[in-house]
């Protein structure tokens, strides 16, 4: 048992020694891997935020019915009752001109004063129509409903948001696909980069390996330090990528923090623990695979 502990300590020491060798090549490898992981994590984070934004919008009114100028609370109430009877309409919320102005001011945050200076006509009374799920997710039915509402007396304009939904949905889909594509690419990069650095390590330490073999080192004793080096390389790259992602998101928040509420977003979403764990496990598995494949190939030759 003691022998095994000493053996493990010697392997770890050999790995750390190997990791510190050729610092420039090692730094380049870690930077390359970190860039790959960061691309994946940043793109996925962006996609998550677009999705969240879309869901927030879908969670708000899917239709906004603006009344004509001069339409009072009585007309709004009458229209609200009529719309509530339409199949697929889940809920209706009446927004008075004053409420609309207050909401806008709140959205502007520190620039709220601007809303108070706008003319009364900029904030017509409106009805925010929340649709049942099956209707909310069908652009055709939504448009059909909007056309019918637009023909009702005293209705000025009906906003459907279709264009925004479609654009954001497409953006979210592209973001998700890109993120997973980049994730796959990051794994391939991890296999190749770790494989290449292990190969370089084996070549530069050929004499040491040869000596180890003739003093009785087993294959596992020779190979394990290279595997550990691969894992250390991945761990360093992941740490660097996550730090860079944190800095990037903090920077985005500080620059665009005031704008996000205006477009319906809250604070930026960050990757959750599940996603981070998957990234770490995937990265380490890819690093081990790269090291193992290379060592096997070298061992066979």
């Amino acid at each position: 048992m003691t022998n095994r502990l000493y053996g493990a300590w010697y392997l770890l020491r050999r790995s750390l020694g190997g990791f510190r060798r050729r610092p420039l090549i090692r730094a380049l490898s870690v930077a390359t891997l970190a860039a790959a992981f960061l691309s994946f994590a940043a793109t996925l984070t962006a996609a998550l935020n677009v999705d969240a934004l879309l869901h927030r919008w879908i969670g708000d009114a899917e239709l906004t019915v603006y009344l004509e100028d001069g339409a009072g609370p009585a007309e709004a109430e009458r229209l609200s009752v009529a719309l509530a009877a339409v199949a697929g309409v889940a809920r209706i919320e009446t927004v008075t001109p004053e409420q609309a102005r207050e909401r806008f001011a709140a959205d502007l945050g520190s620039h709220g004063e601007l809303a108070r200076d706008l003319p009364a006509g900029a904030f017509p009374a409106s009805l925010e129509v929340h649709l049942a799920d099956e209707l909310a997710r069908s652009p055709a039915r939504r448009r059909d409903l909007a056309a019918r509402i637009a023909r009702v007396e005293r209705v000025g304009e009906v906003e459907v948001y279709d264009e925004w939904f479609e654009r954001l949905s497409a953006l979210g889909l592209i973001g998700r696909l890109s993120a997973w594509g980049l994730g796959l690419l990051a794994l391939v990069v991890a296999v190749l980069v770790v494989g290449a650095t292990v190969r370089a390590g084996v070549v530069s330490r050929r004499r040491e390996i040869e000596v180890l073999r003739f003093v009785g080192a087993t294959d596992r004793y020779v190979r394990t330090p290279f595997m550990i080096e691969g894992v250390l390389e991945i761990a360093a790259a992941l740490a660097l990528a996550l730090l860079a992602l944190h800095v990037l998101l903090s920077r985005v928040e500080s620059v665009a923090g005031d704008i996000l509420p205006l477009i319906g977003g809250g604070s930026l979403l960050r990757p959750g623990i599940t996603l981070l764990s998957a990234m770490i496990c995937g990265g380490i598995a890819a690093g081990l695979t790269g090291a193992r494949l290379t060592l096997r190939r070298i061992g066979e030759s």
Binding site: T2, N3, R4, Y6, G7, Y10, R207, E208, E210, V211, L212, R213, F214, V215, G216, A217, T218, D219, R220, Y221
Partner: protein, 266 residues
């Protein structure tokens, strides 16, 4: 797979530590590096492998070290037919050997201590035990106090001593040395041979490949003579314990000293 290298039987039981039977090794089909070589090595023997350049000495050392497998024939080490052993078992078996190569094969950017301690490290010995044993062995080879220096900073002769220290540090059953005194002056060579002889006296089997006739004359031991990959003779000079096995009818080796001289002259 064997858990640890077995200790060979005592020489008194007449069981060889290593037995070679009709060993041949071909790198080229038309020219064997070794051909039909048979002999035994017993515990505590000091044996020279002599012969001119290209005779097959290094190939024989590599076969004994299990770095290569013979194309034909049988090599039994400590009761194991090496052909039946898996890689891991070969590695474990090698721990009962020490080897000194002509080109030292030290790891240049490691310290002398680290180089010499490698066989013990591979066995999982404690750091303290390694330090103590390495210091003792370095003292014996005349490198006391030089352990902290990098191996690449040593002279050729010093590197040779460090390589010898590494070979003997784990107290091997079989010590293989390919021209171990080639880089040493006569006094140092004499000192190192004395060290190897003391190891043999303590039970280690020493196989030393050389073409240094002066050395063999000064320290006579059984000598296996190779020429063109064939065993052309085996002396029984000083310390020899056995006659070589008969290779073929009418092919009994003549007097060993004469054969050794003839082989070297070739």
């Amino acid at each position: 797979m064997i858990a640890s290298p077995p200790r060979p039987a005592d020489a008194g039981e007449e069981v060889p530590l290593v037995g070679l039977r009709r060993i041949s090794r071909f790198y080229r089909a038309d020219r064997p590096a070794l051909f039909d070589v048979s002999f035994d090595l017993f515990r505590g023997e000091f044996v020279y492998v002599a012969g001119p350049s290209g005779a097959g000495k290094t190939t024989l050392i590599r076969l004994l070290h299990l770095a290569e497998i013979a194309d034909t024939g049988t090599l039994v080490f400590a009761g194991h037919d090496v052909r039946d052993l898996r890689r891991e078992a070969v590695a474990v078996l090698r721990r009962s050997m020490g080897v000194v190569f002509q080109d030292f094969r030290l790891i240049p950017d490691l310290t002398v201590e680290a180089n010499v301690g490698l066989p013990l490290e591979v066995r999982g010995a404690s750091s303290r035990a390694i330090r103590a044993r390495v210091a003792e062995v370095l003292e014996r080879v005349g490198l006391g106090g030089r352990g902290r220096e990098r191996a690449c900073g040593l002279s050729g002769g010093e590197q040779q001593r460090a390589a010898i220290a590494r070979a003997v540090v784990a107290d091997p059953d079989l010590l293989l040395a390919d021209e171990p005194t080639g880089s040493l002056d006569a006094w140092s060579a004499d000192h190192i041979i004395g060290l190897l002889e003391s190891l043999a006296a303590a039970g280690t089997t020493v196989v030393l490949a050389t073409h240094d006739r002066m050395l063999m004359a000064a320290h006579p031991h059984r000598t296996i003579v190779l020429d063109n990959g064939r065993l052309v003779g085996m002396s029984s000079a000083g310390g020899s314990r056995r006659s070589p096995p008969a290779r073929a009818a009418g092919d009994q080796p003549p007097d060993g000293t004469q054969v050794a001289a003839r082989g070297l002259a070739g």
